[in-house]
Symmetry: C2
Amino acid sequence: MPAAIETVLQHADATLPAARDALFDLLRIASISARPEHAADCRRAAEWVRDFLAATGFAATVRPTAGHPIVVAHHPGPPGYTGPHVLFYGHYDVQPVDPLDLWTSPPFEPQLVEGPRGPRFVARGAVDDKGQVMMFLSALRAWHDAGGGVPARVTVLLEGEEETGSPNLEPFLAANKTELAADLALISDTGMWDVDTPAITTRLRGLLYTEVKLRAARRDLHSGLFGGSALNPINALCAALGGLHDANGRIQLPGFYDAVKPVSAAQAAEWEQMGFDEGAFLGDIGLRIPVGERDRPALQRLWARPTADINGIWGGYTGPGSKTVIASEAFAKVSFRLVPDQDPQAVLESFRSFLAARVPADAAVAVTVLGGAAPGIEIPADSPFVRAAREVLGEEYGRPALLMGSGGSIPVVASLRRVLGIDSLLMGFGLDDDQVHSPNEKFEQRCFHHGIRSHVRLLGRFGG
Amino acid sequence: MPAAIETVLQHADATLPAARDALFDLLRIASISARPEHAADCRRAAEWVRDFLAATGFAATVRPTAGHPIVVAHHPGPPGYTGPHVLFYGHYDVQPVDPLDLWTSPPFEPQLVEGPRGPRFVARGAVDDKGQVMMFLSALRAWHDAGGGVPARVTVLLEGEEETGSPNLEPFLAANKTELAADLALISDTGMWDVDTPAITTRLRGLLYTEVKLRAARRDLHSGLFGGSALNPINALCAALGGLHDANGRIQLPGFYDAVKPVSAAQAAEWEQMGFDEGAFLGDIGLRIPVGERDRPALQRLWARPTADINGIWGGYTGPGSKTVIASEAFAKVSFRLVPDQDPQAVLESFRSFLAARVPADAAVAVTVLGGAAPGIEIPADSPFVRAAREVLGEEYGRPALLMGSGGSIPVVASLRRVLGIDSLLMGFGLDDDQVHSPNEKFEQRCFHHGIRSHVRLLGRFGG
């Protein structure tokens, strides 16, 4: 390890209280992007981060968008730098705080609390994503203060609308493509395997989210006078969607699995060794029996196999008591989690065919796509950036970092690939019990500290 | 025909304008039972009818209930009367009038309008049920004024809560069982086959109305993080309810058809001869292809075969846009139209078994019955009262009266049978296009006039 890294790590250790104080300052700003009355707070948070970056040697700006502003900051790295240009992405906005009465302390008054794993930070945004952003910014600051300057060429991109679906991010990326060009994106918004086991997330499922509308008669009908002759669109919708899966949990859309590749033997073995306890996972939420494809291990089902879920359904009379109506329309929101190589457009066409074959000819079916359809993502395990991060985490924790999947989507990863043409390195330090989006969100100081140190190492390696 | 009947018929013809004026007086009272602000109007309507009956020689009273009052009036018939004691049931309350802007005249300002079939009455309640009630009351009045008095023993029972589900009727029947004892109930709240073809309704389907609740995880879940492992109750509800019917439209509850008797050959032939045009029936509502049991004629499917309809369904996210949620609960309102001999309780148990066999073990299913379950009704075609009404209608119209079914329920028929032990004779004069419960409700004067005359004849026959 170069001497500089060791020095910077020691400085990071010594200044941990200052890094925490800085994070607490940022946490005190109630930057709830979903609430218009907090627009000024969002701007304050953006300015706070800009100032922090400016004080770290960056050329930092707050840039307007149609919504909340985006912070962009550049550092050229040391003179003659030839290593990779890193684009760090994060977000300064946070989720709303309701239900407020479940918080044990005010959400924007960060607390240092002693927990079973040592001190923890409790506040809205403690981990998502202010805490994770401040690990990287603290690592930059440590290099700036004690390592002779930021050792790599770094662009920082922090948006303020991640929690509301990033409506202005992709247009911003497209409009500033040249300025934001980089070799890789570095994102710290994911989790570890457990508090002692670091992880890099290399798989994300994609998403196709649709709304189905089924129309039958041109008005609501009396179920006594018409029942037995007139088509009931709710009956028909249930009959069609009830066939989404077979008895073995396989999705019945034609050709649905054609592009689905099996997980590599090495990856499957690594996941198997993690000893994931699906019984405990389900037990936590009051369930016992897994669904999904019957013959697949849990982590494959969660991370590397596609799903079909009805996220909402409605139609007819839904109030108290009874109404003997045959509705004219029925609706459902149906989404598919996708894996790499599944084309969202092809899945959409297949879903339309599936419905057309199952819905009576008298019904008009319309399928609308809601939100941008996103393909699944897989970052090759042998990418030089994944390998570098893996080594860095291995040094920091004294044990190998795992390559994980996530069943959810991180839309920015697809946006960065689509618009800027770069892959993302997802190195995060959250834990499953961090209460993200919930009351009493927390972040372990131990994770925060290791996260700063890991970023110090990674920056040093890029510059080394 | 006895001379008295002929005299009374002539009087009824001559006093048709007066009968219409009386109906219009009643129609001007806005007796909307569902609206608490019309409670005084309901009472006024009850008192109006009481006074009309008192002026017709009845001992008439307005009786309180927990809701709107019930009118009860008795006439002993002529001295030494030995014929059947008739209990006439009707209701003086009406449906709400919204949407008001679709009415061509104010709903409580009855209009005499020239239509394609001659004059018609337009007002809320014109046919349902004030117009139909006033046919019977006008027939009583004609006998009273021109026939030497009411010729049969008659009790009139008029409630004011039919349009809100008759919550106080059955308790009232039970509390006044002795006073209301009779040989048959006569109800005029149904329809003709067409304007020239009289009909008696001898079949009514029953109803079992349930709400199904399916519970899975103890909280809403993120579909990315849990999809592929955690049970989705909406998926499960659709899979279960999607199997309610097979490809031939047969209901799949175990034993569901065990008690369903085929329609008699004579009845089937009579219905077949009616030449019901299901294409036109469905075309009116924008549909083309019948549902229900594939091998059954339309009128059997509508009148004499049971059905299963999902009247409402809801669960998960139903707002605009997308939310990637796996809900914790899903709900449906599922109702069954029943035919005579099907036991609602047995159908309920069978539905529970059906669901238990189809819902994953991890889900908790609860089935609640909403409203009182009612069995189907069949009045024997050879009952002396049906035969009498058939002959009377044949004389009046110069063509045979048809025996029809109705796919809906008329709960009072079941109540009268259950509490008082009597069958109902359903002789009604409404038409399919009368806009019952809708804006511009109307009643053909021709139907009103024939209705009065038919009741004059029926009363005369009971007394003859």
